[in-house]
């Protein structure tokens, strides 16, 4: 990469990070609002549901803590930002700059994740104080692979939402389609329950969808639960390779339909 490209990426991230710091309170609240996995953990342990799937209390706690972490660093809202910008006519100036507007949104998300990091750490720290038996230190290679896997999960979600966001070129309310997608994301990603707890008939097809690779796979990897690392990472990469050309195609078709309304 040339120095200028490096500078472009660095400036984009730096500016978006400065912008996100302006919203640090909101980001702290968003981080707290992502504690669904802890509620689920409570339901699972209080009802001894983990016994049916042969996972110990400690491993289940670690799984949900990791699910919380993965969710914190893979949450995507690009469809809502793009929809608003599109309706308000803010996309127009971005479209005539030599930078795909989605790179701005991408930088916004990465900057938000960096801002969110300390808050997520604090929540994890509190979790460990309340559940000291769950403290563990993953080995470096697993930690490294988990970070990559979480980033790939973020990329998959970013691409899915970007494809949906591009539908704004045809329909003003593309976010309603995203809300439809939220249902399988919630139930099939492993946010509410590890996929291993699903019936065999569901498990047989669920791994062909992108959903288990959003939370379940990276969370299992980080928490040290048994998982097929090569298979999981390959599937994540495969989904990115499949989704990226779809995004490019829909973006190219959509910009031809663009009417620059609101501007």
């Amino acid at each position: 990469m040339s120095n200028l490209t490096n500078q472009k990426i660095f400036t984009l991230l730096k500016v978006q990070y400065s912008n996100m710091l302006e919203y640090r309170v909101e980001i702290a609240l968003w981080a707290i609002s992502g504690i669904i996995p802890f509620f689920m953990l409570n339901i699972w342990t209080n009802n001894n549901l983990n016994e049916s799937i042969n996972i110990s209390d400690v491993m289940l706690s670690r799984y949900f803590l990791c699910a919380f972490f993965v969710r914190q660093f893979s949450v995507v809202w690009v469809v809502f930002s793009f929809e608003e910008d599109s309706l308000m006519g803010k996309v127009s100036p971005y479209l005539i700059q030599p930078l795909n507007p989605f790179l701005r949104y991408f930088a916004q998300h990465v900057a938000e994740q960096i801002t969110r990091f300390p808050f997520a750490l604090i929540i994890a720290f509190i979790f460990f104080i309340l559940n000291p038996e769950t403290i563990w230190i993953p080995n470096l290679s697993i930690l490294f692979l988990s970070i990559i896997s979480t980033f790939l999960s973020f990329l998959i979600q970013f691409l899915i939402q970007s494809i949906v966001a591009c539908l704004c070129f045809w329909t003003e309310k593309a976010s309603s389609i995203e809300r439809l997608l939220f249902i399988p994301t919630l139930f099939l990603s492993g946010l509410l329950a590890p996929i291993v707890s699903f019936p065999e008939s569901v498990k047989s097809w669920i791994y062909f969808t992108p959903f288990p690779y959003l939370i379940d796979f990276p969370a299992n990897l980080l928490s040290g639960n048994h998982t097929n690392i090569t298979g999981g990472l390959s599937m994540q990469i495969l989904w990115i390779v499949l989704l990226f050309p779809i995004f490019k195609k829909i973006w190219s078709a959509g910009t031809k339909k663009y009417t620059a309304m609101g501007s």
Binding site: L4, Q7, K8, F10, T11, L12, V15, S18, N19, E22, Y23, G89, K90, S92, P93, Y94, L95, I96, Q97, P98, L99, T255, K256, K257, Y258, T259, A260, S263
Partner: protein
Amino acid sequence: MLKNIIEVKNLSKSFDISSKEPGLKGTIKHFFKRKTKSLKVIKDISFEIKEGEIVGFLGANGAGKTTILKMLCGLIYPSEGSIFVSGNLPFRRKENFLKNITLIMGQKQQLIWDLPPIESFYLNASIYDLDKFEAKKRIKKLSEMLEIEDELFIPVRKLSLGQRMKSELLAALIHEPKILFLDEPTLGLDINAQRNLRKFLEKYNKETNATICLTSHYMKDITSLCKRVICVHNGSISYDGKLNLLLKKLSPVKEILIVCKSEKDANQLENSGFNVKNKSKNEITIKVENHSITSSLKTILNNFDIEDLFINEPPIDEIIGKILIKKDHNV
């Protein structure tokens, strides 16, 4: 001879518009079956713009001025016809084309709301591949020209509309574009801010020989910046030429207010064959055709005892108003 930087041939643009009848019945019908019709908003227009020209696009609301600008800068795709802007097809949005143009839309901002404008300037500079040193130099130069050196470090949300608009302009010009598309750039600004912005654009045009395409409902923007205007009426071009020729054509007479030394002189003047608009005591207003102003003034000054006289230009807004509603302005 100056070369054409913009060439538009037989350009048309249609939009699919859905219509809905009022009331509950209309809403239900609209829910189940949407009626859409294709509306041709730009109809077979052709024109050329030379490098360094400042051209004003005039027309009533909805005439199609902004749609033309949006097609010229590649924001929207034309339905028919061809557009070449500095040798490029705008809608392909190639990097070398985008680096040569800018679009400024009044009140539509690209500045990051919660950060000082300087952050957006550096961001734009890096988007246009300017190194830090060059960016700094240009920010300094443009902020001096726009007189916003003191506002560079204040969050955008705390700036006044005029300061924001100037900052928008700086952000849009940091890559020193060769072609500027300005859609109502002075919208909402006070008179002083409008004047400063016009002065800046004039200076920018002179210093960089940039081509400027401008739409504005403030006639002063058009009259002080544009020698050439393109009048758009219902998506078609009704006039393309010099502004002064159009003004002469639409307003062929001037009014002269003559203050005579005595009422007797005024009475004599009233009966001397001039087209009198009104008279009161020693003041008389006559209408004179543009081409006979000099001879008429000579006659008046030689034959009557005159205390003072004023030549009144017809109000420009009134004339432009005629342009907006008239279909043809062949000169």
